[in-house]
């Protein structure tokens, strides 16, 4: 599996050769440094720990993280993630050009926080009529039966905090890769606000058509 870390820059539109305007998200992807190579006999599993977004001032790093970076003799990074990729060693740099134009990827990000939201926005309840004396407007309504079970079932949808969770968008097409600027243009939208961190992984293989 291939993967890289990135930062969402924003969304724009771009002309295709046949004149269509295509919505693209611009992602600053990499270069990413392999901070640590985890090994089977030492760590119990194999993976690469990669770092993205350099921290310039040492005072902005917590002591435990400083210890980790010192042990691995690596620069300081803000965003560390594990990616299962072969062919790289600790200290190597991984650039955007591991991906090519037209490839499909999955992108993981943290969605925009919406705060405490009611049931209509959060769970797509239909709500009640807005007028004609209706006193049931945006309320959740009944949440269960009576004496049996005489409690509300777990996981019943209700109001609460919405957004700011990890979201994966699958099978996004890469529209363009620009290595000199470390940029990647991706078709369509990507979770999170501009400036949010993203994990870009190659898409899962598609199950073969059974026909």
């Amino acid at each position: 599996m291939k993967g890289i870390l990135g930062k969402k820059i924003g969304i724009t539109q771009v002309f295709a050769e046949d004149g269509r305007l295509i919505p693209v998200t611009v992602i600053e992807a990499g270069p990413v440094r392999v901070v640590q190579k985890k090994e089977k006999d030492k760590d119990g599993y194999e993976t690469l720990q990669v770092g993205f977004d350099l921290i310039r001032k040492e005072k902005n790093v917590t002591k435990p993280m400083k210890g980790h970076f010192r042990k691995t003799s690596s620069p300081l990074y803000r965003f560390l993630k594990e990616i299962d990729m072969e062919g790289f060693n600790a200290g190597d740099d991984i650039a955007v050009d591991i991906f090519a134009k037209g490839e499909k990827v999955s992108i993981v990000g943290t969605s925009k926080g919406k705060g405490f939201q009611g049931v209509m926005k959060r769970h797509n309840f239909s709500g009640g009529p807005g007028s004609h004396g209706s006193m049931f407007n945006r309320a959740p309504g009944s949440v269960g039966a009576s004496a049996s079970p005489s409690r509300v079932y777990k996981n019943t949808a209700g109001p609460g905090n919405m957004g700011a969770v990890r979201v994966t968008v699958k099978n996004i097409e890469i529209y363009d890769v620009r290595k000199e600027q470390n940029l990647m243009l991706v078709k369509g939208a990507v979770p999170g606000a501009n400036g949010g961190y993203l994990i870009i992984k190659s898409a899962l293989p598609v199950a073969e058509n059974k026909n």
């Binding site: 724009t12 771009v14 004149g19």
Partner: protein, 116 residues
Amino acid sequence: MDAIKVIEEGYKKEIPPFRVGDTVSVSMKIKEGEKERVQTFSGICIGRKGGGIRETFMVRKISYGIGVEKIFPVHSPLIEQIKVTRFGDVRRAKLYYLRSKKGKAAKVKEKTFIRK
């Protein structure tokens, strides 16, 4: 934001400066099945909208007695050429009033001096 601007600039085309009220003829590539040909649409530019790569302009002409309007993206790769054939003298940004005018009243005054 800067990276986005750079990307948008890269998709922009060189176009002749034209304003609302000018008479323009737009050559556009059109695909018919396999064949590709160039069609020209000439008329008065009655409005420009949007900015950057998303900018569009609206052209109005009278075709066999029926008013026809077409909206073109300024930077579309399908536009082969934009030719300004006449400079117009107008006081409005959008010439929607031309739609309700007929004959001589639907004309736009020509600019008499040369624009810098």
